[in-house]
Amino acid sequence: MAVHSERVQTRSPKEAKTAGAATEPAAATADGTPKNARPAGGASLLSRSTPYLLILPATLATAALLGWPLVKTGLISFQNLNRRQLIQHLTEWNGFDNYTAQLSSSEFWHTAGRSVAFTLLNVFLIMAGGTLVGLLLNRLGKGMRLFLSFGLIMAWAMPIVASTTVYTWLFDQQYGVVNWFLDKLGWHGMADYNWFGSQLSTFFVIVLLIVWGSIPFVAFNMYAGLTTIPAELYEAARMDGAGAFKIFTAVVFPSLRPFFLATTFLEVIWVFKCFTQVYAMNFGGPQRLTETLPVYAFVEGFGNQHYGTGAAIAVLTIVMLGALMAYYFRIILKQEDEL
């Protein structure tokens, strides 16, 4: 539909010209579109450049504020830039040294592996949880749905820095409510448990925080998607004797397949590059064991003042993200063609 009407519009000035040449002013006035009323030549030149003028500010901003820092990250990654060079404004190129050092260090590969595992676990929990909550929202009565939505919105809107602080308090060793609760449940060993003392338990808190904050987005999208599935589809499936699980795999999932793909990739990208939750929770500790790639780049760069090394890690992270994003765009572009 949209394509058709646009084509008609772009063609109309030409038609106006030919109509004018044929000296039929009555037809032009009866047609009445404003395009015909304007002088054809000047208007079409102006309207041809209009879209470019409209996107110009956005393009310039993106090139200067996003493009240049990206290029600059690349440039720094080929430099030997430490504390001394930083203070004295020295530029010392060192080729691929930063990269070879990183790619041959076990620390980098450990961190990369940890990042991948961390991302997969989070995204799996977010997608599974979000889908289930979305399905539940669709099944609830109005009052209950509002109540649950309220909870979801609160978790969703909670500023990340604030929720990170709150989680450290919830999991506080001495007076944290979680330890008290576990103790009451009969798990007395947890009464004075230090959650931030070991790698796995710190990750547990971080994952819980991220999943808690990310489920609402997926759940609301899922619910919005579910409301677009016609009721007849469910009825037909039920008439054919399908159970709840079968309805999900045969009706819901195929209808919302684009949604699942797009959301999963978005979450993968978001979690992979997530910084604040991981860093502000325990600053990558204990013993740098909860550093994911973005935190690793930050600590190497600013913490240890190896800016060149940090930039190289950043570039490697961006390359990984780029690969993920390319895959995501292939999915999105298929959908875009349908628009």
Binding site: M154, V161, P294, A297, F298, F329
Partner: protein, 279 residues
């Protein structure tokens, strides 16, 4: 459809448990902020603070440079969101309503920019800012926050503009408006919910930003250019186990966002154009 009593009950039970799971951290933050210290430093948590106190808020508000940082946060966030709205309205109108060579490339760049890895670009942004002598200033923060929310703003506004029926604009043009007038008088007022919800998300992104301000504006004390996320994280390290004050600080930081979100969530989801064109 008939379901057994159990079949009708379990979704509600799960819903209550889930709602509590999502609400509890928020509730715990607010309630801790109001509790007197003896209830916070207590082996048995107090779930309902009946003898509430405002002491913690008092301590939080009187922390060093608190009001400066409040001002900084609001200035940076509001300027960034307004600037990106202005730039994005132009661009999103172009991609929603016009056909031009390079449109697809532009859309792709916008979508890619939406996922820009700002978290790992801190090093180069630090270098750029330092070399232009702009460390400890609100200007680079505003500019980069504007850029952080710009792609999302363009993308969302595109959807809202596309949702305004073309016929409305065309009929305004038939009535003698130019295309600019048609946009300003017809499309723009209908975009109000879109602009609001978009600016809401932009506001939250900029309000929350942490890594960039952490390295750009290290200077504390008089006339600091730090924002509230830094105040909050440093609060925790300076005040240590003063959980009451820390939670009061978190509450002060979170409440504006929670209120704005609840309020605008409703307004943003409304079919303002419903019924404008009869099919």
């Amino acid at each position: 459809m008939r379901r057994s009593l159990i079949g009708r009950t379990w979704p509600n039970v799960i819903a209550v448990v889930l709602a509590l799971f999502f609400l509890f951290p928020v509730y715990w933050m607010v309630s801790t902020a109001f509790k007197p210290d003896r209830d916070i430093i207590s082996r048995t948590p107090v779930f309902l603070p009946l003898d509430g106190t405002l002491d913690h808020f008092d301590r939080a508000v009187h922390a060093d440079q608190f009001w400066t940082m409040v001002g900084n946060s609001f200035t940076v966030t509001v300027c960034a969101v307004l600037a990106s709205l202005a730039i994005a309205t132009l661009a999103s109108f172009a991609i929603a309503r016009m056909k031009f060579r390079g449109r697809k490339a532009f859309v792709l760049i916008v979508m890619a920019a939406q996922m820009a890895p700002w978290e790992v670009m801190t090093i180069s942004i630090y270098m750029i800012t330092r070399d232009s002598g702009m460390l400890n200033s609100l200007v680079p923060l505003t500019i980069f926050y504007m850029m952080m929310v710009l792609p999302f703003t363009i993308w969302t506004l595109r959807g809202f503009i596309a949702a305004v029926p073309k016929e409305l604009e065309e009929s305004a043009m038939v009535d003698g408006c130019t295309r600019t007038q048609a946009f300003v008088r017809v499309v723009f007022p209908l975009l109000a919910p879109g602009l609001m919800s978009t600016s809401l998300f932009g506001f939250i992104t900029a309000w929350n930003e942490y890594p960039l301000v952490l390295i750009l504006n290290k200077q504390t004390g008089e006339g600091t250019a730090q924002t509230l996320p830094l105040w909050l994280t440093s609060f925790q390290s300076t005040f240590g186990n003063d959980w009451g004050a820390t939670m009061a600080a978190s509450t002060l930081f979170a409440v504006p966002v929670l209120i704005v979100f609840l309020f605008l969530q409703r307004k943003a989801v409304g079919g303002m154009t419903a019924g404008a064109v009869k099919g």
